[in-house]
Amino acid sequence: MTEPLGKDLLGLEPLSAEQIRLILDTAEPFKEVSERAIKKVPTLRGKTIVNLFFESSTRTRISFEFAEKRLSADTVNVAAVGSSVSKGETLVDTARNLEAMRIDMVVIRHGASGAARFLAERIQSNVINAGDGTHEHPTQGLLDLLTIRDKLGHVRGRKVCICGDILHSRVARSNIWGLLKLGAEVAVCGPYSLLPRGIEDLGVTIFRRIEEAIEWADVLNVLRLQLERMNAGFIPSLREYYRVFGVTQERLERAPRELVILHPGPMNRGVEIDSRVADGPHSVILHQVTNGVAVRMAVLYLLTGGRPEQAEAAKRGREGGE
């Protein structure tokens, strides 16, 4: 029996391979829910979920909101701009005030690494990390795993190279943990200035040249070059980056096998990825977006309910039940 997920989803690092597989397996039936004429099931009816976004986000916030609504939860979006957060309220005060309104779950995105855990330890509600600083973005990692599994049948033994700005990327970290736990071979490729020190200690191969990565890999997960990093002098110029590390049509044509191309979005076309690749037959970028809703539905479903004391009471009442 797989260990339940517990109260919160803060990252993939603390999860076991079985728990990750449980989430992916649970996402499968939720894909079908989104194909129905009435894209809604009553599972989370009466639950209130707050989407607390201290950083801007379109895709992730909308994806969570669809997932919540398709499970019949009531949702409130709080953006840092225009809320009392901009008046200097602390994270804990904001959350405690929300909790005083009897909410059940908080989905949080925050610029500080560890913000989700900090919050989870201080409130009763379930907390889902929707990206904290450069730490983790677990639902993105999960949807990438689900997409790889969809396209290649399984994750174990597949060679996945994460390309670009690994240093600042929570997507990279969640991917590395998830992929390693499910038995994939993981590599990273990017400018030395954008690779975290000691990353090879995790069991990750480093490629200095994108051509080598393409020759080796089954899957490329091409990360967004965070343009705001440009000013900090991590790379000489965008054009230089594209010339050396860009995932281009020409480079892919020389690959020994067909690659699956992932990108978490938003894309910088002509910086980390060629438009012809992004829109080409190997790109599964939109499939990732579709899977994102299913994975988030699975996480919401698995985290809700199941409080141990209620389970005990229910078991006593239902001995010999169906």
Binding site: T2, P4, L22, D25, T26, E28, P29, E32, V33, R36, A37, I38, K40, V41, P42, T43, L71, Y301, L302, T304, G305, G306, R307, Q310, A311, A313, A314, K315, R316, R318, E319, G320, G321, E322
Partner: protein, 184 residues
């Protein structure tokens, strides 16, 4: 709640086969001109039963039936108390249920809560002309005003007993067993 479990046989394989024969012909009668019949099995063993019944109806009665499967987990009324069920089965229904004659198939009818959930779920897929319910075993103990239209076998089981339906496709053999907890 400890104590040994006592298993006793209620139906053997031939008895199950006879029950499925009866259910099949009862469904044909119930449905009338059943050109628009849809059998919807409830995950997990209801799906296998619906497959067997459908095959029997096609062979014996030369009536075409469509199949569907329903997993009602997401429509349960007790997710809060028992926590989520990890494994959700497939839900697969014909493109439209509007105007169809739907017969829900399940292995055991007990409290009626599963069927309540199934009715809610079917309503989200369309508006059938009529919905019926066929079960292999009715063990009594209803908590809702829900009754089966077609019953393979009625058995008496106490509120703390369990009725296990075992099917070849899932369990490797056909049997219906009563599982009773011996007084500790």
């Amino acid at each position: 709640m400890t104590g040994a479990l006592e298993r006793s046989a209620l139906l053997d394989a031939p008895a199950i086969a006879r029950a499925i024969d009866r259910i099949s012909s009862d469904i044909v009668t119930f449905a009338g001109a059943a050109g628009r019949l849809v059998l919807v099995g409830i995950q997990r063993r209801g799906v296998e039963l619906a497959d067997r019944i459908g095959a029997r109806i096609r062979d014996r009665h030369a009536v075409e039936v469509e199949h569907g499967a329903l997993d009602i987990t997401l429509y349960r009324d007790d997710l809060n108390e028992i926590g989520p069920r990890p494994v959700i089965g497939e839900t697969r229904l014909p493109r439209t249920l509007d105007g169809r004659m739907v017969v829900i198939v399940d292995d055991v009818l007990f409290t009626g809560r599963t069927i309540r959930a199934a009715l809610d779920q079917i309503a989200d897929f369309g508006r059938p002309a009529r919905i019926g319910l066929a079960v292999l075993i009715d063990r009594g103990g209803r908590e809702l005003p829900i009754q089966a239209d077609i019953v393979g076998e009625r058995v008496t089981a106490g509120p703390h007993d369990r009725v296990d339906v075992l099917l070849e496709e899932v369990d490797g053999r056909d049997a219906v067993e009563l599982v009773r907890r011996a007084p500790a």
